[in-house]
Amino acid sequence: MSTIATKVLPPERISTDPIERKLYSRDVAPVPEVITGAFLRTTPDAVVRPGNSEQVAALLREATRARVPVTTRAAASTGFYNTVPVRGGLVLDVNDLRGVVRIDTSRKTVRVLPATTWQELDDALSTYGLATMSYPSSAVSATVGGWISTQGHGIGSLRYGAVADQLVELEVALPDGRLTHVDAKSFPPMGWFTEAEGTLGVITAAELSVRPRPEAESIHLLIFDEGGELADAIRSLARWEPRPFTLTFADPGYFALLSGAGFRTPLDPTQHPYLLLACFQGDPRLVGRARNAVARLHHRELPPEMASEEWGQRLYHLRVKRAGPSLLAAELWMPLSGLAGYLRSVARLSSAVCLPVASYGVAVSQDWAMVMSVYPADERRKLAYLCAIGFTKRLHDLGARNGGRPYGVGLWNTAYLPRLFDRDRLAELRSRKAALDPAGIMNPGKLYGTPLPLRAPLFGPASWALSTLFVASSRRRQ
């Protein structure tokens, strides 16, 4: 396998070391080998580190010729196995394609390499009085290329849209070895790559629109007694003009878990607060009107210093993992109209099964939010952890009942493929794949089809059985 790489790269950029390869066989979600070993080859045969776009393209050309699977990886900061190989082959570690190439202050655009993190990009832009329009809630590690490849909704999307809306152009290495530039009008169009999760090619550079660094900022931390009040407030503020930069929220379960993990919370978690953090940015005069928007809501507001502290921790939701030590999660794309129902259902379930479930999220448009529901587990207790994994389906099912669907696909969410895409949409995606990657080398086993163990006849009953055992053990512990 590494002979393909040696045609393109010097030996020091190729590793076949077993321990090294092992480290590339996971992402943020640890999955027991009893599952992965049953039907996947998650350890790559070799890891390669191209140093430039041309090397990426050449590697893809050679891999296509030899029909070797290629999985692209930068931060690997998702939990769906988007960046983990499932059929061995090469892992293409693109982290050396990192840095800002050019900042155009007059056009307000930036050309950036794909492994640059969103925080690094924003840091570089700040020197020029500019800022990114949006960024993921994992901006410290999440990369530009990774977020673009996975739809890119997060903090700032409410005001500025998905990252796809900010893209001017992408440079992409295609499986046939071509290095090409795509935009909204090209063929293939840029949009194909912003939801392909690395299955059509490798993004090797991106040009993005950016914004002037906001002159003013107004942050408000609001408390609600009910999830319904919280959802109403989000819907109301999401329609306010000027639009808030972002609205993030968390339920009482989140603060209970945070407190249990040993962190200070804005309120006593026993008060069961739903918290909404509203951030308005931009022109000082318009931002000044934010107070009017907030004042119209029926709520209590916490002091500004507490709001600032919460804002400072917006990239640190993972703190709750200390309560685990592992954390399992369902990430959902949820209509705001169904948010209250979902939060209510989760609270009811959490109470019924005696399991702390924490939900937090961000409004990404006037109608939609991304919600992460997490619960503690311990991956070191292998059997119990296996059972715990089954519980995620219950959360996904609650999401579906309230109009939601999984956010991101990768491998694990192919179990919910019918919820994600209708037949026509899936056919369209598959036709793109056939057009650009007929040999099927790019990130195979993801997105377009469901492997047998994740298909309904097996997955549903297995998840139900495992989660039933998990719930029983959780109740016993209580």
Partner: protein, 382 residues
């Protein structure tokens, strides 16, 4: 820092690690090496493998030492792990399994045998005083004094770093304050042994220094080396109640505030490099900067990018003993960034940073001068 980092044992913290990669984005050695095994999260995983009994080769285990202990990973850790402590415990575990890198083990052996990490004759510790044009009368070598200057191995033996000790002694001499050194009886503080995962072997050295310090009964011990100061704060302080442990810049700034230092004047542009063991791990940010600001004619320049302002030079955590070429690469990078501000000189407050950055400047062919704050002050005396 948003909260106090926690450490509940190596196995527990390894399980808590979210593998999110926040640490990866700021790690100096990962940015140079590039393999996942050299990222902090990769090292956490390696430590976990060690604990689980996965057989690792010495070169695979050595990755745990491919770290400068700079602590940037701890600052950003999404799950609040005290990663500096994690690395020290992971190294202890590695050393216990006889997988410690040869270079680090050799330094431990030298320190235990000779009392210094270089393996020199420890009687020569204060030999640098012989090269000073004039030793201040206020230095009471071999006598008790209220102030002890703990020189450290680097400033005692490294020709480049000896100039730092000389400068500090000159500055103290200007104040007339009586002080003393531990001289030939001073032992390595133990920090390199701690970093090698061999704290147990450092115990004798610590006890010898503590006993000597008790004999002197000073009210304060002052250090030009931030690693020595950190070691004393973490492993000596409990045994020396009431003794203040201060970095040279803290001590000098206090004197400056009391008007007991001379005036300083130097027309130059300098960039300040924050030593990790002094600033991030030691909590001393302002005194060196304030001292520089007190020099008339001196312009202190800053790296524009906030995330690059406090990067490590590469010189910490015993990395020099494990992979000198990696240290050189990091130093060249750091020098380029600091020199990129347009500074004539790089100023820092740590003999190890001075040594590392000086070599980096030389390797990069960069004309910028590298010096310690006390060297600059000694030069700028009016």
């Amino acid at each position: 820092m948003k909260w106090v980092a926690s450490f509940d044992g190596l196995a527990q913290e390894a399980a808590i690690c979210a593998y999110c990669g926040y640490c990866r984005a700021v790690c100096p050695t990962y940015s140079a090496v590039g393999w996942e095994s050299c990222s902090p999260r990769g090292r956490v995983h390696l430590a976990r493998m060690l604990l689980e009994g996965v057989p690792l080769s010495p070169s695979q285990a050595a990755r745990i030492y491919h770290c400068t202990l700079c602590g940037r990973c701890s600052e950003v850790c999404a799950t609040g792990i005290d990663l500096r402590r994690f690395w020290l415990e992971a190294r202890k575990t590695t050393a216990e399994r006889a997988l410690g890198p040869a270079g680090a083990e050799e330094a431990v052996r030298q320190a235990v045998l000779s009392g210094n990490i270089y393996g020199y004759d420890n009687d020569e510790r204060a030999g640098w005083l012989d090269y000073m044009d004039e030793v201040p009368d206020s230095l009471r070598l071999g006598e008790r004094a209220d102030l002890v200057y703990f020189v450290g191995c680097s400033s005692s033996f490294s020709p480049r770093a000896q100039r730092i000790a000389e400068s500090f002694v000159l500055l103290l001499g200007e104040t007339g304050i009586q002080f003393t050194l531990l001289g030939k009886d001073e032992r390595c503080c133990g920090y390199p042994l701690l970093a090698a995962g061999r704290l147990a072997e450092a115990r004798t050295l610590i006890q010898e220094n503590v006993a000597l310090c008790r004999e002197m009964s000073p009210s304060a011990v002052v250090f030009t080396c931030p690693a020595c100061r950190l070691m004393w704060m973490e492993h000596y302080a409990r045994e020396l109640p009431g003794v203040r442990l201060l970095h040279s810049t803290e001590y000098l700034w206090a004197l400056q505030m009391e008007g007991r230092l001379p005036s300083f004047h130097l027309e130059s542009k300098v960039a300040y490099h924050y030593p990790c063991d002094l600033a991030r791990s030691g909590g001393v940010y302002d005194p060196p900067r304030m001292l520089l600001n007190s020099v008339r004619g001196l312009q202190v320049l800053e790296i524009s990018s906030p995330s690059q302002r406090e990067e490590c030079c590469g010189g910490g955590g015993d990395l020099e003993m494990v992979d000198p070429s990696l240290v050189a690469e990091l130093a060249v990078r750091r020098v380029s960034r600091l020199a990129g501000t347009g500074a004539d000189a790089i100023v820092t407050a740590c003999p190890q940073c001075v040594r590392t950055l000086s070599r980096g400047a030389e390797k990069a062919g960069c004309q910028v001068e590298v010096m310690d704050v006390v060297e600059l002050l000694a030069r700028a005396r009016l």
